[in-house]
Every structure is written in structure tokens, then in C-alpha cells.
């Protein structure tokens, strides 16, 4: 790898190892096929890669559009400092989703076919188109940071190019880009839920509801700020720059409001369908339901509502972690645990499936680490941030 700086931290070394193991596993997958590298079967055709990399990956990258919306549409300047890391995380998240799909698809070399064979009635078609377009939007949203770094470079070849020009173009279309990002995210975050609407017979009644797309969007919006809190706390540990507590408590409060709406929707929906009693009777699935609701909604709402929690970085971090874990729990429930498997089949991911997923996450962490070293990512760059680009 190209990271032969003076001292390589242990963390980076571990990450690199995980990335390499993931890479080798991916190569094995392409040589030997899905059957040899996964425990997938006709009974369980979607496994860890879809549940974790696609379903969780897309939702956890929601910080990109929620923060962009808060900062550029609602113009809450306070949160400007986290907009950059949020957009980078989202961009990496979507890149990983695409990479994971290239591993999971049976015929990844034919992925381009969806551009020429449209089934506009398929929610998955919509997800594919939105993920592709939104990844480009995110790249453009993040590009000023790269241009800014390039314009400061001392290398003669890079210096010769006028980086201010592309920077100015992006700045001019900044707001349309953000709006496009929000529209695309609204569509595909909800359509991931619509995809499951196809399974009224196999998805458990506790989760199957016509409002699944709305619940998916709502939970994604809630986990967006939580993920930003989670991730920037971790990176501030590693890179040393601290964000003001004000930002975190604000995000916490926001998450509590959004999660309250989510909780309300979940309960009212079950009530309206007349299935509320299932949360007590539908053993063992009800335990999964309670697990995701307590961890991902009830506890965080209570905690984020307490002023003492909102004044403590540690508490804020752990509460945000609860929201993230709860969301992962939810996405695993709807796409695997509460989704019926064909009779006489079982599924537990093969180690190679874990290796690929872990490798992809490590990829993202390495890139974030590199970005923090090479690009103007820190909160101190408020002036040079995306809307006011070209400060140099």
C-alpha cells in the first residue's frame, strides 16, 4: 500500500490486514463462485452481504443527506463542522455498497445490463438507479474538499491546473446538488423498504406493513445524525480535533424527535392493523421486535431527552451507538431474521462472507484515515467549507 509514512500506527496495520484478507477472499469468490465461498442456498438467497452491506450500509450512510439538508437547506450553520465528514462517510458508504454488490451479484460483470433493461415497476431498479446517481452526487458534493487540497499542493504538475474553476462550478450548483441528494435519498431509502413489500407471505407480520417504505425512510433519517455523532467521536479520538459539545447535543435532540415519530408510527401501524398483541404473543419473533425497539428507539429517546445526557460527550456517544445498533438490528430483522427461509434450509454466514464484509468496512476506515491526513477535513476548515469554497 502507499502508506509508508514514517510511523504506521498499529490500528492502520490491523486495518490493512483486514483489507488484504477481504481482498483475497474476494478473489477466491470470483474464481470459485458463490456456492464455494458462501453459505447461501436456494432457501436463503440473500445473506450477510445484503443484510449488512446493502441494507445497513445504505441506512448508515444517511448522515450524508440529513446533514447536507440541515446545513445547506435549513441553514443551521452550527452543524457545518460535521458536514464534511458526514458527506465523506456517505460517499464511502455508497462506494462500499456498490463494491459489496459486485461481490454478491451472481454475474457482476453484467451489472451494466440494468441501464439498458429497465423494469420501472421494480423497487430494486429504483434503488439501483438512485444508488448510482446519488454516489455521483456525493462525489460532487465532496469534490471541493479535494480541489481545495489540490490547489494547495506544491507539486508543479498539479499546480499548473486552475483548481478554482471546477471549485466555482460545484459551488454554483451546490444547492441543486444537495436537493438532488435529498430527493434521491428519500426515494431509495424508502424503496429498500418497498423491496420487502414483495414478501407479504414470508416477512413476519410484526414487520410487514404497507408503510414499510415510510418506516425505512424515517429510521434512516434518525440514524443519520446518530451515525455522524458515532463516527466523529471516534475520529476525534484518533485525530485529536474536538467538536463542540453544542453540535452533539443538538444532533442528539434532533435524533430524539425523529425517533419519537418512528416509535409512534410503529405502534400506530400495529394498532391499525390489529396486530399490536403480537408484540407479546408472537414468540420468538417478538423478542427480535422488542430488541430493536428498545435498543434503537425507546432507550435513545429517553436518554437523548435527558439534559444530563446531552451535556456529556460519553453519554451522547453511547446513546448514538444504541441508535446505530438498533438500526442494524432492525435491518437484519426485516431482511434475514424475520424473513421466512424455505423449508428444510438453514443459514449462518460462512467465514468468507464475514471476511469480505469486514474487509470492506476496513477499506472505508482506511480511506477516512487517509482523508484526515491528506485533506482539509477538520472542523477548523469552516471558512473553506463547501459553500464558501475558494477562500484561497
Amino acid at each position: 500500500m502507499k502508506i509508508n509514512k514514517r510511523s504506521i500506527p498499529v490500528g492502520t496495520l490491523i486495518l490493512t490486514t483486514v483489507v488484504l484478507i477481504g481482498l483475497i477472499t474476494m478473489i477466491l469468490r470470483y474464481i470459485n463462485g458463490l456456492g464455494a465461498t458462501t453459505n447461501l442456498s436456494d432457501g436463503r438467497a440473500w445473506g450477510l452481504w445484503i443484510s449488512f452491506d446493502l441494507y445497513c450500509g445504505v441506512a448508515l450512510a444517511a448522515g450524508g443527506f440529513t446533514l447536507a439538508g440541515i446545513v445547506y437547506i435549513f441553514r443551521r450553520e452550527k452543524y457545518h463542522a460535521v458536514a464534511r465528514p458526514a458527506i465523506l462517510t456517505a460517499f464511502l458508504g455508497y462506494t462500499l455498497v456498490i463494491l459489496a454488490l459486485l461481490v454478491d451479484l451472481g454475474q457482476p460483470w453484467y451489472i451494466w445490463r440494468f441501464l439498458f433493461n429497465w423494469n420501472i415497476h421494480s423497487p430494486m431498479f429504483e434503488v439501483s438507479l438512485c444508488v448510482m446517481t446519488y454516489t455521483i452526487v456525493l462525489a460532487l458534493e465532496f469534490s471541493p474538499v479535494v480541489f481545495e487540497a489540490l490547489s494547495k499542493s506544491d507539486l508543479p504538475i498539479i499546480k499548473r491546473f486552475k483548481w478554482q474553476i471546477p471549485m466555482r462550478i460545484i459551488r454554483a450548483i451546490q444547492i441543486p446538488l444537495v436537493i438532488a441528494g435529498i430527493v434521491l435519498s428519500t426515494l431509495h431509502q424508502s424503496s429498500l423498504g418497498s423491496m420487502l413489500l414483495m414478501m407479504p407471505e414470508t416477512l413476519h407480520t410484526l414487520w410487514y406493513t404497507p408503510i414499510l417504505p415510510i418506516l425505512f425512510l424515517n429510521s434512516a433519517i434518525a440514524v443519520g445524525p446518530a451515525m455522524v455523532m458515532f463516527e466523529s467521536t471516534l475520529s476525534s479520538r484518533v485525530f485529536g480535533h474536538r467538536l463542540s459539545l453544542d453540535i452533539f447535543s443538538g444532533l442528539g435532540k434532533m435524533t430524539a424527535y425523529i425517533l419519537s415519530v418512528y416509535l409512534l408510527l410503529k405502534i400506530v401501524d400495529l394498532l391499525a392493523r390489529g396486530d399490536l398483541t403480537l408484540i407479546f404473543t408472537a414468540y420468538p419473533e417478538n423478542l427480535l421486535w422488542w430488541g430493536e425497539m428498545v435498543i434503537g428507539a425507546i432507550l435513545p429517546i429517553v436518554l437523548f431527552s435527558m439534559p444530563s445526557v446531552r451535556q456529556s460527550r460519553t453519554w451522547l456517544f453511547w446513546t448514538a451507538t444504541l441508535v446505530v445498533v438498533g438500526l442494524i438490528f432492525n435491518r437484519f430483522n426485516v431482511s434475514m431474521l424475520a424473513l421466512g427461509i424455505r423449508p428444510d434450509f438453514t443459514y449462518f454466514p460462512y467465514w468468507m462472507e464475514f471476511a469480505v464484509s469486514a474487509g470492506l468496512v476496513a477499506d472505508a476506515m482506511l480511506v477516512i484515515w487517509l482523508a484526515n491526513r491528506l485533506l482539509p477535513m477538520g472542523p477548523g476548515n469552516k471558512e473553506g467549507a463547501i459553500t464558501e469554497a475558494g477562500s484561497n
Binding site: 436456494d42 440494468f114 433493461n117 421494480s122 430494486m124 423491496m195 423449508p343
Partner: protein
């Protein structure tokens, strides 16, 4: 008019000639299986076994029943696989068969997850895998032939004809001998109707047939997808509106004080 097959479990003798005929016509390899103590073999339909006879032992109405049911793609009237497939590799043809096209598939396997009958199978052992399922012998049908399995059936358990005619006949058979049949034509209503119809002496859940509703599984998806265009326009308009409003309220200078909170309410 669409074609269908009526599969009468009271007439099936479990000879599995249909399985063999299917393998022959589709040039499918045999599979290595182990003896499970049943005549049923192979244990499941796979990408290489598009149909099989399922053997059920059922205790019903004070009597013991050994029931044989042929399992294959049901060729739904409103197929989930076709609605799910992002590249439209599945098509429900007017004649009845639901057909799959290698030349469109990218291998996402949404069809396999979506199918309420758990039918589409994957070539897991192949590094370049495709989905495989019963084709209803669409190739034979266009040539004026019956499906291979129907041709091979020696006992008349499989009858190939127009769907409407077969539904009428199925009800006649039930009416003629109500003690021999449960009053249910499986496939008439299931998930909006299927091209394969079943008669049985015992309730169908005792045969391992999925208990499904009469509404097509695609209904809610269609509703959700219909909301996409208005949501697209609506969210774009809403966000533009909020941007314009907030900007006007904050003044065109744009200098925002950090604790300028609660002015615009809580962002969604």
C-alpha cells in the same frame, strides 16, 4: 387464453415419470443424493431438478393418506419474480408460462427471495450462475405440444388445457366426489391465481404447500412504486421552498449566528 395444468393428487401414483421427462427434455444432469428413507428423491427442487414429486403422509378425517404432489413453478398470474426483477428478466406470457431470460439477468436473486412458493433456484456450484425454474415447456407449447411432464404422466393426474376450463372441471370433480376431495382448488385464488392448479384429498397445508392469501403479492409494491413520481416532485419542491424561505428569513447576507436555533423548527 392462457394455458394451465390441473394436478389431481387423487390420480397421482407417485411414479415420477414427470420428473424423468422433465430432466430429459431440459437436458438436466442427475444429482447425487442420499437415501432419506423415502421414495421422494431428490429431496428438493434445484437448478437442475425443475420438478419433483413430493410425498406426504397425512392423517386426515380419520384416515391415513399417502399423497403425491408435483412441485414446480406455479406460473402465477401476477408473478412476484417478474415484478421484482430489476432488469425485467422474467415475463409472464399471454399463453401462461412465466419465462426467464439469461440475457438480461445480473444475478441479484431478488426473484428467489420474492417468490411466495420458493421456486426459482440458483446454480450455486457454477462460478457463472443463472437462475433456473420450470419453463412450462414454453418451447414445446409453441410447437403445439403439451409440456413434457404432462405427456409422460401415465395416470391422467396431470391435465393440460385452458385455465378457465380446468377450473370448471376441478370444481366438477369435487362436486362429483365430495368425499374424495377437500373443497379447494389450490391455485385458483392463491396469490391472485396461478397456471398450475391442484386437487387434493387432504388440506393443502398438510402437503407442505404454502398457505398464501388470495391477493397478488405485488399489490403493495405497485402502490409504493406509484408514489415515486409524486414523491420525487414533492420532495424537490419542498426542499427548494424551505431553502428559499429560510434564506429569506435569515437575510440575504447569510451571516448566521451559531445559536440561531429553533427558528425554522426541527428539520425532518
Amino acid at each position: 387464453m392462457s394455458k394451465a395444468v390441473l394436478c389431481d393428487a387423487n390420480k397421482c401414483i407417485g411414479c415420477r415419470a414427470c420428473q424423468v421427462a422433465c430432466k430429459q427434455w431440459n437436458e438436466m444432469p442427475g444429482e447425487t443424493t442420499t437415501n432419506t428413507g423415502s421414495y421422494e428423491n431428490p429431496p428438493k427442487t434445484t437448478a437442475y431438478t425443475l420438478t419433483k414429486v413430493h410425498f406426504s403422509e397425512a392423517d386426515y378425517d380419520g384416515k391415513f393418506h399417502w399423497v403425491f404432489t408435483k412441485i414446480q413453478c406455479m406460473h402465477c398470474e401476477h408473478p412476484a419474480c417478474a415484478a421484482a426483477c430489476l432488469v425485467g428478466a422474467f415475463q409472464k406470457t399471454e399463453e401462461g408460462p412465466v419465462l426467464y431470460d439469461d440475457h438480461k439477468c445480473i444475478g441479484c436473486r431478488y426473484c428467489m427471495v420474492a417468490c411466495p412458493f420458493g421456486i426459482p433456484a440458483y446454480q450455486w456450484d457454477d462460478p457463472t450462475p443463472w437462475v433456473r425454474k420450470c419453463t412450462f415447456c414454453a418451447d414445446r407449447q409453441t410447437g403445439g405440444l403439451k409440456p413434457a411432464c404432462v405427456t409422460a404422466c401415465p395416470s391422467g393426474a396431470l391435465k393440460f388445457s385452458e385455465r378457465d376450463a380446468l377450473i370448471a372441471e376441478a370444481h366438477q370433480r369435487i362436486a362429483a366426489e365430495p368425499s374424495k376431495y377437500v373443497n379447494h382448488v389450490y391455485g385458483e385464488e392463491e396469490v391472485g391465481g396461478t397456471s398450475w392448479l391442484y386437487l387434493s384429498p387432504v388440506p393443502f397445508d398438510m402437503l407442505g404447500m404454502p398457505v398464501v392469501g388470495s391477493e397478488a403479492v405485488t399489490v403493495n409494491v405497485e402502490r409504493a412504486m406509484g408514489a415515486v413520481p409524486p414523491v420525487l416532485v414533492g420532495v424537490a419542491a419542498l426542499m427548494s421552498g424551505i431553502y428559499w424561505l429560510v434564506k429569506r428569513r435569515q437575510g440575504s447576507g447569510g451571516a448566521v449566528t451559531p445559536d440561531d436555533k429553533e427558528r425554522v423548527g426541527v428539520p425532518k
